[in-house]
Assembly symmetry: C2
Homo-oligomer: 200 residues x 2
């Protein structure tokens, strides 16, 4: 996905093919949030921001790494999705059921990771909001909005895979991993509200 | 932007350059929402969906056109942004003030259009939700989430430009154009909640 032209990615998204779909868009939302925070951090350097220099350097490094991670998750999402459709194509029997269960648990993994990545991105929005260069404060809000979309879209994608998973332990573990989404969404909304207040 | 690789777009987004920024991401969110709805519509064809065939054909055509429009708006956003920075570089005087006012009003135009496009996309989510192929119902939620992010990010970008616009008529007109964002956001949230309810 990383080497696709934007116009071609969108064409594939609109096409009657199983992937890319919502999973890829969730990951791309997270990647955009990371990139926007990276830009805000890069505009928060120089003499005026000396006291925050250490934080800013750390944010640049972390957002670059989260951006790369989100792009990888978009690719893993497509691969995990293909594994599910492959499992359903196996001849009926015990082996097929086991393969489907494994594939569904595998397909829930990339969106669960996207949700975790997006949660961290919301924290970084909160970290940059008070210290970032005011000329790009709207980009902190844009990052919060993008992280929020990543959170909610990833959660739905975990939930749809949960539906087919019978193993109670796997179910419980996945449920725990998405249990913080509402709180992270509320924090993202707070960031956007603060930015709107500041520019009003 | 359309011909940029995704990885290069994200690199530019993270870079210390004025554009692309939040404006481009808002437009890309809208383009993704349009693409996802196009996919859902393309999966809603054939005998089983005969009674909705006319609607589905219309949705495919409209989402394709909204997707292209959103991509154009991303490009217009970058151009309008450059016009603002150019205006600020003019020598001080009446001409500069007039040029800045014109440029700011121009810069508010692409995000205002993104918000309008995203509002229509939320309506199309509501239209497809009850009739679309259930196998891709989570993609209707993903489209609603993406349209929501387009709405809120575009609104902040209209608001930041509004701050510099003195002309009361221009201000009022822009305020009217973003006055429906909260209602559209609530409708997008309803779509996602309905999908989560259905798959739970």
């Amino acid at each position: 996905m990383r080497d696709l032209k934007i116009v071609d990615f969108l064409d594939q998204l609109a096409d009657r093919v199983p992937a890319p779909g919502g999973g890829a868009t969730a990951a791309l939302h997270a990647a955009q949030a990371a990139a926007l925070l990276g830009m805000v951090a890069r505009y928060t350097t120089g003499e005026k921001y000396t006291e925050h220099a250490e934080t800013v350097v750390a944010v640049i490094a972390e957002t670059d790494s989260l951006r790369a991670r989100a792009l990888r998750l978009a690719e893993e999402d497509a691969a995990a999705f293909t594994a599910v459709t492959d499992a359903y194509r196996l001849p009926k029997g015990e082996e097929r059921s086991a393969a489907i269960a494994r594939a569904l648990a595998g397909a829930a993994e990339p969106p669960a990771r996207v949700a975790e990545t997006a949660t961290r991105l919301v924290e970084l929005c909160e970290l940059l909001l008070p210290i970032g260069n005011r000329n790009v404060v709207t980009d902190v809000a844009a990052a919060a909005d993008a992280a929020r979309a990543a959170l909610t879209t990833a959660r739905v994608n975990v939930e749809i895979n949960l539906r087919g998973i019978k193993d109670e332990r796997v179910r419980e573990e996945l449920n725990i991993r998405i249990s913080g989404v509402d709180a992270a969404v509320a924090r993202a909304d707070w960031v956007t509200a603060e930015v709107r207040e500041e520019i009003s």
